[in-house]
């Protein structure tokens, strides 16, 4: 007789739904409502999580309050030169607000990395064009930092950033620093510019028209509000950039980040698993559809 099958119990370390502890080493207030957390994972067995790539994200958990998806910003260094994970978070609601109240020395939970990153392999040997709209876009910063850290892998680097108001520009000195670098173009535009704003006023799409692009050998990484990403992609296509070379970072409600909870579906895709970074042709016919 065959006995009923008993499923082996999942073990603690392989349960993708289980967070691990992260210690807040430092907390930097970037703007009034954006702050960066420097994190160290306290369990040495969890270090594989530091293999996180630009464009991927973690679920950050505040004890007793809940979890939210937050993109990877950078791997920084602590004062002993040890690698630390950086996440930039905007305080907008319940959980981000609870995370904002934490200080160095406090602990949070972390699950990840999740999702697709920017297509670094594909980008190798090509020009890189990073287009962002809106406030402090962590996925964009992460790819730019990565590109400068691996400068020889890429040709020309184009950085275009659009903000609503010139005062919204985050990490301004980083942009100024990048603008000084060889083989790099930094263009910025504000819909509304304060006096003394050295860059353009207008929309990001206008900047795209100005870019010295080499369409066949440029890979575009785009993040920001969906209408802006869509308009940018169309503008880039007008500039002969192939649609397949344009990659967008998407955002939807996420409860599990493991492709189960169904909240992040965008048509047939689970943004947490098939995204957040996805090629434009995949998204093209759904972007802009109401309610999708």
């Amino acid at each position: 007789m065959t006995a009923p099958v008993r499923y082996p119990q999942p073990s603690l370390t392989c349960n993708p739904a289980l967070p691990t502890e992260a210690l807040i080493l430092d907390r930097v207030q970037e703007t009034e409502d954006i702050f960066t957390l420097q994190l160290r994972l306290t369990d040495p067995h969890q270090e594989w999580r530091l293999g996180i790539q630009p464009g991927q994200f973690n679920m950050l958990y505040r004890f007793g309050v809940g979890e939210i998806p937050i993109s990877f910003k950078a791997i920084g260094k602590d004062k002993h030169g040890q690698p630390v994970l950086e996440h930039a978070i905007r305080r907008v609601g319940r959980i981000s607000g609870a995370l904002a109240a934490l200080k160095p020395g406090d602990r949070i939970g972390l699950r990840g990395p999740f999702g697709t990153g920017w297509p670094l392999q594909k980008a190798k040997g090509q020009d890189l064009c990073v287009v962002t709209g809106g406030l402090g876009c962590a996925p964009a910063v992460s790819i730019i930092e990565h590109a400068f850290a691996n400068r020889s892998h890429y040709g020309h680097i184009h950085i275009i950033q659009g903000v609503k108001h010139s005062a919204d520009l985050l990490w301004r000195n980083r942009y100024e620093f990048w603008a000084q670098q060889p083989d790099t173009t930094v263009l910025m535009a504000a819909d509304v510019a304060a006096p003394g704003w050295p860059w353009y006023s207008g929309r990001v799409t206008e900047l795209i028209k100005l870019l010295p692009l080499q369409p066949g050998q440029t890979l575009v990484c785009c993040c920001g509000p969906e209408p802006m990403m869509q308009a940018s992609a169309e503008q880039l296509i007008l500039r002969q950039v192939p649609a397949e070379a344009i990659w967008l970072s998407m955002e939807r409600n996420m409860q599990c980040a493991s492709g189960h909870c169904g909240h992040c579906q965008f048509g047939a895709d689970f943004i947490c698993r098939d995204g957040p970074v996805m090629p434009y042709p995949r998204l093209r016919d759904r972007l802009g559809l109401e309610g999708v």
Partner: protein, 265 residues
């Protein structure tokens, strides 16, 4: 660490929501370790004018005195939570607002009506002062109260779940009474929080937790009519415990009027 100071105030009500505290059992003693209860008449704490971090307010406003008192409570409290249907929508007693015949009722009952100082309309707390959080339900449950206190202790706003009773009804594996018995259930337009109590007891939800988000009251009213309810019976479904909550008020009004203008009825 200093414990947050808490007050429980009562306005026009049945006292049932305060029982969410008094029915906590031993948890009441645990709660007392987390917070400092300064004012709660029924439990024996009496310091109505104390400055507190969290004030829970039960009951609706129905006298001029209560208007003065609620302003004082607001001024003394950092975070004001209105609890229960009376406090959030006026509750059952706000039915008197509908007819606009408060004076008549009063005069019918009291030999010396001039002594009765009441407002013509029963008002929810938020009609008079700013309310930081509303906990709906008639009565609110201990679970809701504890979750709110815990969230505030963590320094975050409590979760405001506005989903429908139906969702919880199915999670609880209750059998739909509307589909199997043709009973007019308010679950599809009522907010969860009770754990789908009524359908679990084989009966219709009567809307005691107030309207849910995107409450499709007109659609449901049409369905009730399909189940054989006459317009005035439909109006009564919406005009019960949360008659003043806008979607219920509105749909009740439509059917109340059509009942009044229907000569056959």
């Amino acid at each position: 660490m200093t414990r947050p100071r808490v007050a429980v105030h009562k306005f026009s009500s049945c006292d049932g929501c305060q029982l969410a505290f008094l029915n906590l059992g031993e948890t009441l003693l645990q709660l007392n370790e987390q917070v400092d209860i300064l004012h709660f008449l029924e439990a024996g704490m009496n310091d109505a004018s104390a400055d507190v971090d969290i004030a829970f307010v039960e009951g609706s406003l129905s006298t001029p005195d209560e208007l003065t008192r609620i302003r004082q409570v607001r001024a003394n409290s950092r975070y004001l939570v209105s609890i229960g249907a009376c406090a959030t929508s006026g509750g059952l007693q706000a039915l008197r607002n509908l007819d606009g015949n408060h004076d008549e009722w009063r005069d019918a009952i009291y030999a010396r009506p001039e002594f009765i100082r009441t407002l013509k309309e029963v008002r929810p707390i938020a009609a008079e002062v700013r309310v930081d959080l509303e906990l709906w339900g008639c009565p609110v449950s201990s679970t809701q109260i504890l979750a709110a206190i815990r969230a505030l202790l963590f320094g975050v706003a409590p979760v405001d779940d506005r989903d429908r009773v139906c969702l919880e009804c199915k999670r609880q594996q209750a059998v739909c009474v509307m589909v199997t018995q043709g009973i007019p259930c308010m679950g599809p337009v009522t907010r969860t929080g009770c754990g789908a109590l009524c359908p679990r007891f084989g009966r219709d939800c009567y809307g005691c937790y107030s309207p849910s988000e995107t409450a499709q009251t007109a659609t449901l009213a049409r369905r009730f009519s399909g189940l054989g309810l006459l317009p005035d019976a439909i109006a009564r479904r919406f005009w019960l415990i949360n008659s003043q909550a806008p979607p219920f008020l509105q749909t009740g009004r439509v059917f109340h009027r059509s009942a009044a203008s229907d000569p056959d009825d």
